[in-house]
Amino acid sequence: MSIASHYSYFVTVLLLMVGLFVVIARSNLIKKLIGLGLFQTAVYLLYIAPGKLIGGTAPIVDDAFKVYSNPLPHVLILTAIVVGVATLALGLALVVRIKEAYGTIDEEEVLKVDADDESATDR
């Protein structure tokens, strides 16, 4: 039970925080999506790492093997990866459409264009 033996959890927490920071702090829409990807990837590690037993094999029933890794987290994360890919694809598609509509992929400029439009209609 030393800190070093739990390093995967520390990596998970670090990746989660870095990912969330990028989502919040960057105004480039694509960089935000990269941060989101990092955020989701951290969760994959949270699931996969505890599922692995040192010296364990794939869950194949055979007399030669006594220790198995837990296959369920891997299956769950396979699903989560698919969801992550779909989210990223949709996000990127939206960025393409935003680029077409606004001519920029910088969030602050997009919001500025909208604010200008609004004050123009008020006048």
Partner: protein, 496 residues
Amino acid sequence: MTALLAQHYPVLLVVVPLMTAPLIVLLRRPTLAWLAAMITCVLAFGMAASLLSQVVEHGPISYAIGSWAPPLGIEYRISTINAFVALIVSGMGVFVLPYCRVGIAAEVRSEEHYLFYALMMLCLAGLLGILVTGDAFNLFVFLEISSLSTYVLIAMGRDRRALVASYQYLLMGTVGATLYVVGIGILYLQTGTLNLADMATRLATMGEPRATLAALAFITVGVSLKIALFPLHLWLPNAYAYAPSAVSAFLAATATKVSIYVLMRYFFTIFGVGEVFDVRDTGVVLLALSLAAMFIPAVVAIMQKDLKRLLAYSSVSQIGYITLGISLHSVAGATAAVAHLFNHALTKGGMFLVLGGAVLRCGSSSLDRLAGLGRTMPVASFAFVIGGLSLIGIPGTAGFISKWYLVTAAMEAGQWWLAAAVVLSSLLAVLYVWRFVEVAYFRAPPEDHPPVGEAPLSMLVPALLMIGACVWFGLDASWSGHMAQLAAESMLGAGQ
């Protein structure tokens, strides 16, 4: 034959809309696509109604997918609360789809119509899936199915700001869903099961490891993002304001409500009332946020220039009443929460539908463009005002019933000042509803482009039916109140 099928209603409720979506993409023709979607919604509504009556009569239904017995196999579990919310969700589908025929034609490009209906079906399948599943990870997958389709539906709005709104919702929604996955990951590491019922029994015997607290925090924050609980609501106003009208109505009545069900499910049945409210004081946090939600967004709503945004902020405010009911963690409080969940779905869904007709005629939902609506569209304006009265909670409307439950629950808990807060925040609702009344009845229609009469019948009739239902359940709350009571008891384990 029907008896044989009835056994499989829990899974068919999800499978039928899920299969209709690719079918619609193959059909391509807008009319056929609409017809397929409409039939699916009616089927889903019928199945939900049948499930609800079965559950009320015979108790919870457990359905093992592929006959793999739970907890190893995936279980679909229907109790009163999820059958009731499923009825609301599929019922909203039945109301919104006839409206889509004309309502969507004006707002979405014609070559995208079939995609619109396909996404509607995916969204319905996702929402119903969240409700019926008894598996924590399954719930996440369905959450993402409904969310991803919702992002696209919002982006289909005509205004380019819809794209930005959708993008922001995608970021916040994904962060919320990912936090939820972190939460169930921790719970899975602790308990070794993903089956919600099994997880609940194992957590109850585990004492109080600190990891449970972390899981509780992750799940609460993740789901609260989806609920749009007060400080986490920033995605909602733009998403509702720039989405096509039919989508706003559907989402306002269903998406946040389903997430509220998820929160109640975790608080009341998985972590348990003792753990969440007595040991961890989550109730105090939830109470503070609910109170903030009841007042701050309501004040923001009063200052809006756009009626759709006004309604969106009002939704954030009304969600505060529901979470207030949850934070009281009594059967009476949960009853109030479920009752308001139902009544607000009817009210806000109906108001967005009415507004959609007005937007079609006026070309915009800004209050200036809607001036004089009382003269040019008398029926719609009148219906909108009735809906507004229900938001305020005037006796004779559905909104009154839920506030009555809420005030009673607060009194029962000895928190009389909460009852006063409910009444006070209703006064704020009077102000923002009055803004519409003032504009619609005391101002002349804009001269350059006055609206040309009432909305088409196919839009007006569903809208009026929903507002009518709102009055009906305000006058006769015996059914909705009874269902809410049963649902609350089924979650809190009382009266079994």
